[in-house]
Amino acid sequence: MHRSLYQTPGNSIMKKSASLVLAAFVASLSASAAFAETNLTVYTAVEAVDLDRYKAEFEKAYPDIKINWVRDSTGVMTAKLLAEKDNPQADVVWGLAATSLLLLKGEGMLEAYAPAGVEKLDPRFVDTTTPPTWTGMDAYVAAICFNTVEAGKLGIPAPKSWKDLTEPEYKGHVVMPNPNSSGTGFLDVSAWLQMFGEKDAWAFMDGLHENISAYTHSGSKPCKMAGAGETVIGVSFEFPGAKAKSAGAPIEIIFPEEGSGWEAEATAIIAGTANLEAAKKLVDFSVSKEANEMYNVGYAVLAYPGIAKPVDNLPPNVADHMIKNDFEWAANNRKAILTEWAKRYDSKSEPKT
C-alpha cells in the first residue's frame, strides 16, 4: 500500500510510454503475422561482395520473403548439392554455373518453372526444355590476363589468339586452371573442343601443355597470378581481370580472336522445396530487368538483352567474343573429357627436377 506514496508524476509518464511501446510492439507483431514471412535457403556461388546487395534488392521488392544465403565456390557448392541429393537443404539455387545445374537436372533435382518474363531473356540463357529448369543471370567469359610489365622485361609480345599460346616464346609463362578442379578450366577445355573439333583441340592442348608452368585449382587465380607478376599469361575469365586491373595490376585483358568459352550463372528451384511459392517469386525476380541491372555492376554480359552498360576496364563488346556454347553437350561429355584430360596431362606432371 505504501508504494502509492512514492507514485510521482514522472513515474506515471513512464508507465504510459511503456504501454505505448507495448502497443506498438503488439501492432508490429500482428502486422508481421499478416505478412507471414517466409525464409528461403538460397545456395549461391556469386562473389561474396555482391551477396548483401542482391539480398537487399530482392527483399525490397518482396518484403515478406527473407533470403538465407549459403555461399561457397562453384565446385564446393555443386559437391554440396549433389551430396545432399536425398535430403536437399536448399530451396533455391541463385547464382551457380549452368553446367553444374545441368548435373543436378540429370539427377532430377530441379523443379521446372517458367518465371514471369522469361521470354524476354536471350534464349542462350534459358534451359532448352519447356518449362525450363534453369534461367540465366549473366555470363563469365574466358579471357587471357597478360602482365605487360613482366612481358616487357622478357620481351614477349602479347598473344592474339589461343593458338598463339602454343608458340615457343611463351614456354613456362602460361598458367591455366586445372579443368578437374575448376569450372573455369573445364569451360576453356570444352570451348576448345567445340571450336576446334576434337582432334585439333587435343593437338592444341598438347602444344599448350608444353608451355604451361602450372595448372591452378581455381579459375580466377591465373589472372591474379598474372596481376602479381607470378606469371606473364593467366588463362582465366574477364571478371577477375577487371578487378585486378582496378586494384593496380599492370595487366591487359585479351579476348582471343577464335572466340571465348563462357559459362552462364543461373537460377533454379530445388524439387520438393516446402516454399515453392516464395521460390517462384525469387526466380521471377532473378530474371527481371532490375535484377539484371544489379548483376551489371560486376558482369559485362547479361541474360537480359540490350541493357548492359560497359564495366570498368572491360571492352563494351565482351558478348561478341562468346562462342555458341552447348551446355548439354558439355555436361553429358564432362566425365569423358576430364578423364581424357587427366590421362594426357596429369600423369605427365611428375617432378622435373
Partner: protein, 669 residues
C-alpha cells in the same frame, strides 16, 4: 530325506559393484560412445563408400526401332542384346562413377540423326534411369523419340558393391603416381627434419650456449600457424617475383622443392620436442666409460648418444612422416603440378564431385598412416628406462668453440623461421606486391574477399574456445575412467584403443568420413551437420590422442592408493575427483586446453569439408583466399591466427601461473 539336508545352492560369488563403480562405468560408456559415434562409425561408412561402385546395367534398358516411315516398330530388344550384335560398348566402358553417362547411338550401325527412323526407349526396372539431353527419365514407360533426339539419349549407372574403384584408381597413372610422390616427399622431409631437429636438440640439451630460452620460443613458432602459411611465405621468397628468387637457380619453388622446405618448417617443432625429450636425459656413467676407453668424441656420439635417443628419433620420424603425407594445406599452395594423396582427395571431392574416388584415396592414405602408427607403438614398447636409480645425470661441460658452433647453427635455423613469418607479415601490410609497396592495411579488409571475412576469424576463435573447453572435459574424464577404475578390463582396453586411433587418421579422411556419416538423412545426428557442433566434435576427435596421452601421464603420477583411501573414508569418487585429482592435474589440464585451442585455430584438413556459410573458419579462409589468388589477404589472415595463438599462449602462461601458485604449492615443500 538326505536331499532336504543339503543347502540350497547360493548365488555365485561376485564383487559388489558400488554406486561409484556404476557411475564410473556409465561415464566411461558415455565417452566410449562418443568415440564410437565420432570416429569408428564415420570411418566405417567411409570404408563402405569406397567399395560402392557404379555400373551401366545394359539389361535394364530396352530399345525399339521403327522402319523408315517412323510408324512400324520392331520387337523391343535390351541394350545388352543390341550390344552383343554390334559390340559398340566395350566391357571396360561399363565401369563408371556416380556421374557416368553412356551414349547409345553406336548400337545402331546405320544410325543417322537426319533419318526419319524413330526410337522408343524404356527401362525394364523401376530404378533404371536415362537422360534425354538433360531430362531425367525413370521407370518402364516407353519414351518415343525421333532420330535427332535419340542421339541425345544417355544411360545412367546403377550402384552396387565391389573393389572396382580400387582397380580404377590403380589403373589411372596420375592417381597412382601420387602414392609414390607422397611417400618420396615423406621420406625426404623426414630425413631432413630429423637431422636438423637432432642437431637442434643436441645444441639445446648438450651445450652451454647462450639464449637457449629464446631459441626454444622461436623454434616453437611453426606450431602456431596453419601449414598453408609456410607455403605462402615460400611463394613470396622464391616465387617468380620472390625476394630470393635467384637462390633457386632456375628451379621452380612450385613442386617438390617447395613441399620439402615447407614440410621441414611446419614439422620441425614436433620432431624437436620428441628428440629433445630423448636427449634431455642421459647417464653420465656411459660417457665416463667411453672416455676411460679412450673412445673419440665421434665414436662416443655414435655409440652412446645416438643409441640413447634412438627411440625418440624413430618416434619423431614416424610423426613427421605421417604429418607430411597427410598434410593438405602446404601441397595445395606450393605443390604446383606435383600430385600428393591428400590433395587428390580434395580434387576428387571438390573438383569432380566424385565422392567414391575420394573415399578410395582416403583408404589408401589411411594405410601408411595406420602402419606408421602400429610400428611406432611396437617400438615404444621396447623403450626401457634410461635413467635407473643408480645413474648419474649427464651434465654438459662448457666448451667455447662447440658452444659457439651450436649458437651459430641455432641462429641460422631461427633466422629461417623468422624470415618465413616476417615475409608474410611484410606482404600482408603492403598495398600491391610487388608493384606498389606503400604500407597499407587493405589486405586486412577480409569482408571484401572470398573466404568468409572477419566473421570467419571470430568463428575460429569461438570454435577453438569450445574445442578447448569441451575437449578438455571429455578427454580428461575419459582418461580418468581408464586409469583409475578397477575391473571391466575388456571395456578399458577397447576404450584405450579407440583413444589411440585418432592419431592414425588423417584429418582429411576424418572430415570426408563425417560428410558421409552425418549428412545421411537416416542419421538421427543429421541436424548437427553444417553447425559449429560438428566442427567442434571433429576437431576434438582429430586431436584426441595427444591430449589423452597428456592426461594419462599426469594421472599416472598420482598414486592409485587415493581411490581406496577415499572409498574407505566413505567419500564418493566425484568428491575425490574435484577436490584432489583435478587440482593436482591442473598443469596437464591447462596444457591440454591450450593444445586443443592452438590446433583448432590452425587446422585446415579436418574441417575443410565440414564448414558451412555460417561457420566459416579463419584457417579455411586462408586456403580459400589463396585459392582465389588473393595471396596477400591470405597471408594477413594467417598472421591473425598467429597473433591470436601468441595471445592465447600468453594468457595460458599467466593463468597457469596464477592457478598453479594456488594449487601446486604442495609440490615445493
Amino acid at each position: 530325506m538326505g536331499a532336504t539336508l543339503t543347502m540350497p545352492a547360493g548365488r555365485a560369488l561376485r564383487a559388489q559393484l558400488s554406486s561409484d563403480d556404476i557411475v564410473k562405468r556409465g561415464l566411461m560408456l558415455v565417452i566410449s560412445l562418443y568415440l564410437l559415434v565420432a570416429l569408428a562409425a564415420p570411418l566405417y561408412v567411409l570404408l563402405s563408400k569406397s567399395v560402392s561402385t557404379y555400373q551401366f546395367d545394359l539389361t535394364a534398358f530396352e530399345i525399339q526401332r521403327s522402319d523408315d516411315t517412323g510408324l512400324n516398330f520392331g520387337a523391343p530388344k535390351t541394350v545388352e542384346a543390341l550390344n552383343l550384335e554390334t559390340g559398340a560398348i566395350a566391357p571396360e566402358e561399363l565401369e563408371t562413377s556416380s556421374d557416368g553417362r553412356l551414349a547409345v547411338t553406336g548400337l545402331f550401325k546405320d544410325f543417322s540423326f537426319r533419318s526419319p527412323v524413330k526410337y522408343r526407349v524404356r527401362g525394364t526396372t523401376e530404378g533404371a534411369a536415362f537422360l534425354v539431353g538433360s531430362d531425367l527419365h525413370r521407370g518402364t514407360e516407353w519414351v518415343e523419340l525421333d532420330s535427332n533426339t535419340f542421339r541425345r539419349v544417355v544411360l545412367r549407372p546403377v550402384s552396387s558393391f565391389g573393389l572396382d574403384n580400387f582397380s580404377a584408381y590403380f589403373s589411372t597413372p596420375s592417381l597412382a603416381q601420387s602414392i609414390s610422390n607422397s611417400v618420396l616427399m615423406g621420406v625426404i622431409s623426414t630425413v631432413l627434419v630429423i637431422s636438423i631437429a637432432f642437431a637442434l636438440a643436441y645444441a639445446l640439451n648438450r651445450s652451454h650456449m647462450r639464449f637457449k630460452g629464446l631459441f626454444k620460443l622461436i623454434l616453437a613458432i611453426p606450431i602456431l600457424v596453419p601449414s598453408l602459411l609456410p607455403g605462402i611465405a615460400l611463394v613470396y621468397l622464391f616465387g617468380n617475383q620472390g625476394l630470393l628468387k635467384d637462390l633457386m637457380m632456375g628451379y621452380s619453388i612450385y613442386g617438390p622443392i617447395g613441399i620439402v622446405i615447407g614440410s621441414v618448417f611446419f614439422t620441425l617443432p614436433h620432431a624437436l620436442i620428441i628428440i629433445s625429450t630423448a636427449l634431455a636425459i642421459a647417464d653420465a656413467r656411459h660417457y665416463e666409460a667411453a672416455t676411460s676407453l679412450r673412445a673419440t668424441k665421434w665414436r662416443t656420439f655414435w655409440t652412446v648418444t645416438v643409441p640413447g635417443a634412438r627411440y625418440g628419433i624413430i618416434s619423431a620420424a614416424f610423426v613427421v612422416f605421417t604429418m607430411v603425407i597427410t598434410d593438405f594445406g602446404l601441397p595445395k599452395v606450393i605443390g604446383g603440378q606435383y600430385n600428393m594423396l591428400a590433395v587428390d582427395i580434395y580434387k576428387q571431392v571438390i573438383g569432380q564431385q566424385n565422392f567414391e574416388m575420394g573415399a578410395v584415396v582416403s583408404v589408401i592414405l589411411l594405410i601408411p598412416a595406420v602402419a606408421a602408427f602400429f610400428v611406432d607403438r611396437a617400438i615404444q614398447k621396447k623403450q626401457v628406462a634410461l635413467l635407473s636409480a643408480r645413474s648419474v645425470p649427464y651434465q654438459p661441460k662448457p666448451n667455447t668453440r662447440f658452444d659457439w658452433l651450436c649458437f651459430t647453427y641455432c641462429a641460422v635455423v631461427a633466422v629461417f623461421i623468422l624470415t618465413m613469418i616476417g615475409v608474410c607479415q611484410l606482404a600482408a601490410t603492403v598495398k600491391f606486391w610487388p608493384y606498389d609497396l606503400t604500407p597499407s592495411l587493405k589486405n586486412f579488409h577480409f569482408d571484401l574477399m572470398d573466404g568468409g571475412g572477419w566473421a570467419a576469424y571470430y568463428n575460429s576463435i569461438e570454435m577453438a574456445l569450445l574445442t578447448a573447453f569441451f575437449g578438455t572435459i571429455i578427454v580428461f574424464t575419459g582418461a580418468y575412467m581408464v586409469e583409475k577404475s578397477d575391473g571391466f578390463k575388456a571395456g578399458r582396453t577397447l576404450f584405450q584403443f579407440l583413444a589411440m586411433l585418432p592419431m592414425a587418421v588423417p584429418g582429411m579422411v576424418l572430415g570426408l568420413a563425417y560428410i558421409f556419416f552425418f549428412n545421411s538423412p537416416a542419421n538421427p545426428l543429421n541436424p548437427i551437420y553444417g553447425t559449429m557442433a560438428i566442427l567442434v566434435v571433429c576437431t576434438v576427435t582429430h586431436f584426441y590422442t595427444v591430449s589423452h596421452l597428456t592426461a594419462l601421464t599426469a594421472l599416472k603420477q598420482m598414486d592409485r592408493e587415493f581411490e581406496p583411501v577415499a572409498a574407505s573414508l566413505k567419500q564418493p569418487f566425484h568428491k575425490l575427483f574435484f577436490r584432489v585429482t583435478v587440482p593436482v592435474c591442473l598443469p596437464a589440464i591447462l596444457d591440454i586446453s591450450i593444445y586443443l585451442f592452438v590446433n583448432a585455430m590452425t587446422t585446415v584438413s579436418a574441417v575443410v569439408f565440414l564448414y558451412s556459410t555460417h561457420t566459416q573458419l579463419a584457417s579455411v579462409a586462408v586456403l580459400n583466399m589463396d585459392d582465389a589468388g588473393d595471396i596477400a589477404p591470405a597471408a594477413a589472415m594467417g598472421m591473425m591466427i598467429f597473433y591470436t595463438n601468441i595471445a592465447a599462449r600468453l594468457i595460458h602462461a599467466l593463468v597457469s601461473r596464477a592457478l598453479l601458485g594456488r594449487t601446486q604449492a604442495w609440490r615445493n615443500r
